[in-house]
């Protein structure tokens, strides 16, 4: 080898002594930054912020830090592969009406109104796996106070109870009265009260129908790569109302960007009839199933459309998939709608006596064509003749996983189970039990999914 002129880069001042004080000498904030974003969750990072000032300044109030943290974990998750079983922690919030002393019958439970809820109980239950929400609630027996996890809203106990209307990722839309809505993150206990929602003269009429729903989006267009858009989100709250005149709807839309409600009226051919079906926010659209006792279709409302747009653009009807079991199979407790990794998915599960199996089907909606794609179509044998299975919810972050309930004829308690699609029903994992419910169709489920970093509710801009 030829001898060549030595070429040495002028070394920067790099004269540190040997490190026994490792972190103090990791001179470069960039490296410390790289170390901290590799911590597994936001909780441990925030704890780390109290180690010293330098760590605190790297972590605190930095959207850049949160974005990098999310980016790192997203990349890592992609590397593990799309089929990985890694998924975010979740919480299932279940609300149902019990049969009480006053003897609510099955018939009127199907048409529960807000008023009826007052004399039954509101219950929220947490599976073991979601201790994240509140560590104190160690999967013990469900409590009728709603688990106390919304106490941070500070409402006088007994006077108001939080009525959850909708969920999106880790945020909840909570109704106090028909005028008062709150958006909150039950994990970080951040909440914001919306300005008073508009009501209509007929608002007190008993058979006015109200629907509210909630959807979040990032303010950037990068949402495609991350369906958990928890940096600089914006959100919309939709309240639809109709009175006796069934085809006319009043829509009030709150936008976090303007801090205001916008009202409009539009024509729509169906009545959004059922109270216990929960709306699903997905890709900027709020979806409600409609029908009286059974699924008839899905209504899609676009809160971003302007009030001058025609009705079709604002609110449209999506027909059920061709293969969707009609008649008794479409009863409200045999089908569920949910957002799974940024896609709207419909699930149906019913007993088919002729083939002596349960039939499980799931469809994804193509939002541009409003057509359904059948993604699962299975026949499932039951091992015990007295077991009965019903769908409860879709896992928001694992498309192969659903929550179903099991009842036995000799035991009225409901087992809430986690089921991996394609396996035997026996392999279901029991998560928790719901006590004796008056009526299955009255069960109302909200799913919360907890991303790597909890979503921050954007500050409302004051009205101009």
């Amino acid at each position: 080898m030829k001898k060549r002129m030595k070429r040495c880069k002028a070394g920067e001042a790099w004269s540190k002594t040997i490190a026994s004080k490792f972190m103090e000498i990791v001179a470069d904030d960039g490296l410390l930054f790289e170390i901290l974003i590799r911590l597994p969750d936001s909780r441990s990072i925030i704890q780390c912020a109290t180690v010293c000032k330098r760590w605190y300044s790297l972590v605190s109030r930095s959207e850049y830090f949160i974005r990098s943290f999310n980016h790192h974990h997203r990349r890592k998750r992609l590397l593990i592969g799309p089929n990985s079983r890694y998924s975010f922690p979740f919480t299932l919030l279940t609300r149902g009406a019990y049969r009480t002393e006053s003897g609510l019958t099955r018939a009127n439970l199907n048409f529960l109104r807000r008023e009826t809820y007052n004399c039954s109980s509101i219950n929220d239950f947490f599976p073991e796996k979601s201790k994240l929400l509140h560590q104190a609630h160690n999967g013990g027996p469900p409590s009728s106070s709603g688990g106390g996890y919304l106490d941070f809203l500070g409402w006088p106990p007994g006077q108001y109870f939080p009525l959850i209307r909708s969920s999106f990722d880790d945020l909840l839309l909570v109704e106090k009265t028909r005028k008062d809505f709150y958006v909150c993150n039950p994990l970080t206990r951040q909440w914001d009260k919306l300005p008073e929602a508009p009501t209509y003269p007929e608002a007190e009429a008993i058979d006015i129908v109200y629907r509210s729903g909630f959807v979040c989006e990032t303010d950037s267009n990068r949402c495609n790569e991350s369906y958990y858009c928890n940096c600089s989100i914006k959100y919309s709250v939709v309240v639809l109302g109709t009175d006796h005149c069934e085809s006319v709807y009043h829509a009030a839309v709150f936008s976090s960007e303007t801090g205001q409600w916008t009202e409009s009226t539009f024509q729509f051919p169906v009545r959004l009839n059922v109270v216990h079906w929960t709306p699903v926010g997905c890709n900027g659209i709020v979806y409600w199933p409609y029908g009286s006792n059974s699924f008839r279709g899905i209504v899609a409302f676009d809160p971003s459309s302007s009030t001058t747009d025609d009705s079709e653009r604002r609110c449209r009807m999506i027909n059920l998939p061709r293969e969707f079991g009609r008649g008794w199979r479409a009863m409200s407790h045999r089908a569920r709608l949910g957002a799974v990794r940024g896609r709207l998915r419909l699930l149906q599960l019913f007993w088919h006596a002729r083939v002596n199996s349960f039939v499980l089907r799931a469809w994804d909606l193509d939002p541009t064509t409003s057509s359904w794609l059948l993604v699962h179509d299975l026949r499932l044998r039951r091992s015990k003749p007295n077991e009965f299975w019903l769908p409860l919810a879709l896992h928001p972050d694992d498309e192969g996983l659903i929550f179903i309930t099991r009842t036995k004829s000799d035991d009225q308690d409901l087992d809430v189970c986690q089921y991996r699609i394609g396996q035997d029903l026996d392999t279901c994992e029991l998560l928790y039990q719901l006590p004796h419910f008056g009526c299955l169709p009255s069960l109302c489920v909200f799913t919360l999914v907890h991303p790597w970093w909890p979503t921050a509710i954007p500050p409302q801009l004051p009205p101009i």
């Binding site: 060549r4 004080k21 490792f22 960039g30 911590l39 597994p40 780390c48 104190a136």
Partner: protein, 163 residues
């Protein structure tokens, strides 16, 4: 390696000289796993001797050992390679003491060995994981420099993370 015997191109050798004068002769394909060296080779392609005044021979040796393993494993296009690399990486960082870890990290960063920095920062993060704040300070000999009350305030503001 069977692959090198079948290729006709002669592998170029580079001399790397550490701060303490220790030199290493390595194949170009190995050394260019380090971004800094790759840049030097590309910019001033003719040089065969590269001085690295910021890296001690002991740690440069370890960095190059890591590069060699990864360069070799990558030339084999076996599917199991990822697994082999992962297993080997695990071994590589398993028993590193803080002093070595520190110097390796600084060297890898200085030499822009992105993958190695990733591996080593992951290792440090694993030493923080699951520890209480006091334990973290203890492990890394960090003194809290918050004014009285400041730390308490951060905890209060983010109380959910401390329950």
């Amino acid at each position: 390696m069977s692959s090198s015997s079948t290729t006709t191109t002669t592998t170029r050798l580079l001399m790397l000289k550490a701060s303490d004068g220790v030199t290493f002769e390595v194949e170009e394909a190995v050394a260019t796993k380090l971004g800094a060296i790759n840049n030097m080779v590309e910019e001033e392609g003719s040089e065969d001797l590269i001085c690295l005044p910021n890296v001690n021979g002991k740690f440069l040796g370890m960095v190059l050992e890591w590069c060699k393993k990864h360069a070799n494993n990558n030339t084999n296009s076996d599917k199991g390679n990822d697994e082999v690399n992962k297993w080997w990486d695990k071994e590589f960082v398993m028993d590193l003491d803080q002093n070595t870890l520190y110097h390796l990290l600084m060297a890898a960063d200085y030499l822009s060995g992105t993958e190695l920095v990733d591996l080593l920062t992951e290792k440090v993060a694993s030493m923080i994981r699951g520890k209480k704040v006091e334990e973290i300070r203890e492990t890394f000999k960090i003194k809290s420099d918050f004014l009285p009350g400041q730390e308490e305030e951060i905890r209060k503001k983010n109380s959910w993370a401390f329950e």
